[in-house]
């Protein structure tokens, strides 16, 4: 849409929303949130940007096709899932935890990476879907 009001507003919203999305992601283990909602928020941020600045610009920001995030994210989740099998001879998806918790996130462990994988996949797939539709509209 050709409206500079939306355009300039969204250029400020984008980084803030992305930040917020990571926040939602990381605190998920302790409070409401998590990879899925976080990913959705991030995706929405980009969608918003696409609405106001046009799809091509948003794609320019991303530097790669959002679809690429899907295998990357799934790979992250997958690796965090099978790492216990390979590293510790434990069953798949067993949580491996660092000794000490870190701030905000809390305990650091493979489930966190798993959640990050979820986050990436959600961004990737939501954006792929919406961008594809927008392009074909």
């Amino acid at each position: 849409m050709r409206t500079i009001i939306l355009k300039s507003a969204s250029s400020y919203l984008l980084p803030v929303l992305l930040l917020f999305s990571v926040f939602i992601l990381l605190r998920g283990h302790y409070l409401p949130g998590g990879g899925f909602v976080g990913g959705l928020v991030a995706a929405i941020a980009f969608v918003l940007d696409a609405f106001s600045n046009g799809l091509d610009k948003t794609k320019g920001i991303l530097k790669f096709h959002p679809g690429f995030l899907m295998p990357v994210g799934l790979m992250v989740a997958f690796l965090s899932g099978i790492s216990p099998m390979i590293l510790a001879d434990l069953p798949m998806m067993t949580g491996i935890w660092a000794e000490n918790p870190i701030p905000v996130i809390g305990a650091l462990g493979s489930p966190l990476f798993f959640d990050i994988g979820v986050y990436l996949v959600v961004i990737g797939s939501a954006l792929t879907i919406i961008f594809t539709i927008s392009e074909s509209v």
Binding site: Y30, L31, P32, F36, S125, I129, T132, I133
Partner: protein, 117 residues
């Protein structure tokens, strides 16, 4: 309040199915969304309702104690919601594509594959 939730669930099922049975593809999509919501509510209700006690452990505590909502149905519904989202997104696009290729929004026109060919 379970009665009300049960009734609303019933309404969601009924409206979902009713809409799915329409001929318009758009209504069909609305129907699957409504039905999906109905199913979620059913699981939620059958997991028993607890007011105002989310299953989150207090920052000072180590275990969840006292009255708390059952987290399992919530986790199930979350998974179901996400999956439904994927399915719905796909369905919406499918309908769009079907409309474009078949030039109709009428589900009743989609009956040639049953014919002998």
């Amino acid at each position: 309040m379970e009665i009300i939730l049960a009734i609303i669930t019933g309404v969601l099922y009924a409206s979902g199915i009713y809409m799915i049975l329409r001929r318009s593809m758009v209504k069909f999509i609305l129907g699957i969304i409504l039905l999906g919501n109905g199913v979620n509510l059913l699981i939620f209700t059958l997991g028993r309702i607890t007011k105002g006690e989310p299953p989150i452990i207090d920052s000072a505590e180590k275990v969840l104690e006292g009255v708390y909502a059952d987290p399992i149905p919530q986790a199930l519904i979350l998974t179901a919601i996400v999956i439904s989202f994927g399915l719905q997104a796909f369905a919406i696009i499918l309908v769009k594509r079907a409309y474009k290729v078949l030039k109709t929004d009428d589900l009743d026109q989609l009956n040639t594959t049953d014919e002998d060919s």
